[in-house]
Amino acid sequence: MAKSWKMPKWFYQLGSPRWFYDISSRLLPWFAVAAVLLLVLGAAWGLAFAPPDYQQGNSFRIIYIHVPAAVLAQSCYMLMAVAGAISLIWKMKVADMVAKSCAPIGATIAILALATGAIWGKPTWGAWWVWDARLTSMLILLFLYIGVYTLHSAIDNEVNAGQAGAVLSLVGLVNIPIIKYSVEWWNTLHQPATFTITEKPKMVPEMWVPLLVMVIGFYCFFAVALMLRTRTEILQREKRSSWVQQLVEGK
């Protein structure tokens, strides 16, 4: 360690649970309002105003849930692994709590993506489940989430649980591209190319603008859910500290 370099100040502030608690209580209302507005707007737009797909008709409207959920489930895993790495390297408490909070949220969002994919499959492909490459990799992503979550809950010591979860999610992060590639490759081998519907036709703006609104809405929702979970986690772990005691007394 010849060279000692410093990260910017805000990076270290992030490590303070109290600072995170304060700043998140200020940010939460904004994100909550944005999430509600965007999700309501996007859902109404997608359900009632977007034109139906010329091939799939109205079942196409499921895309406004399915795609944002799938995108969010993947970014949530990235965040979990990155937060885990930060907590491993800089021993940052908040990063550890963020990583822990990501797992249940990500798992439920992955379930949402899978469920909507299956329901969408019924009118489109005529079957609830098709071993489509994207559905299969989403299923494996769900398995990875469940693994991290189970590992977290199996270890009693919070610090060790966080570190073990971080190692596992990093291993998963290295694996995700390999899994994705292998599943796609496997899919082309096994699946007769009858389902050309998975090849998205060029979407008109009336279709993709609400989709964009929904994706941003889902991210805002994720920020809210993550902050809420992390805040609860902070309270539970810092319950001996004076500022949490003051919060309790103030109630």
């Binding site: 079942s59 909507t116 329901i119 859910a225 319950k239």
Partner: protein
């Protein structure tokens, strides 16, 4: 508005059940993710206030 009437919107040309189930599942999962941390936060504060009161009672009876 793409649909002629409200019943058209519910029906969605036969795809209604699929589409609405999806949106219902989505709403359930999103709400669960918001409500469950809020509930555990409330539980935390309940527990801590109870503990605080108990400790105060003990210290009062001692003095």
């Amino acid at each position: 508005m793409h649909f002629e009437s409200f019943s058209d919107l519910i029906e969605m040309g036969g795809h209604g059940p699929y589409v609405w189930t999806c949106y219902a599942i989505a709403a359930t999962i999103l709400i669960y993710n918001i409500v469950s941390p809020l509930l555990s936060k409330k539980q935390f504060f309940d527990e801590q206030t109870r503990r605080l009161k108990r400790e105060q009672r003990i210290s009062n009876s001692k003095s």
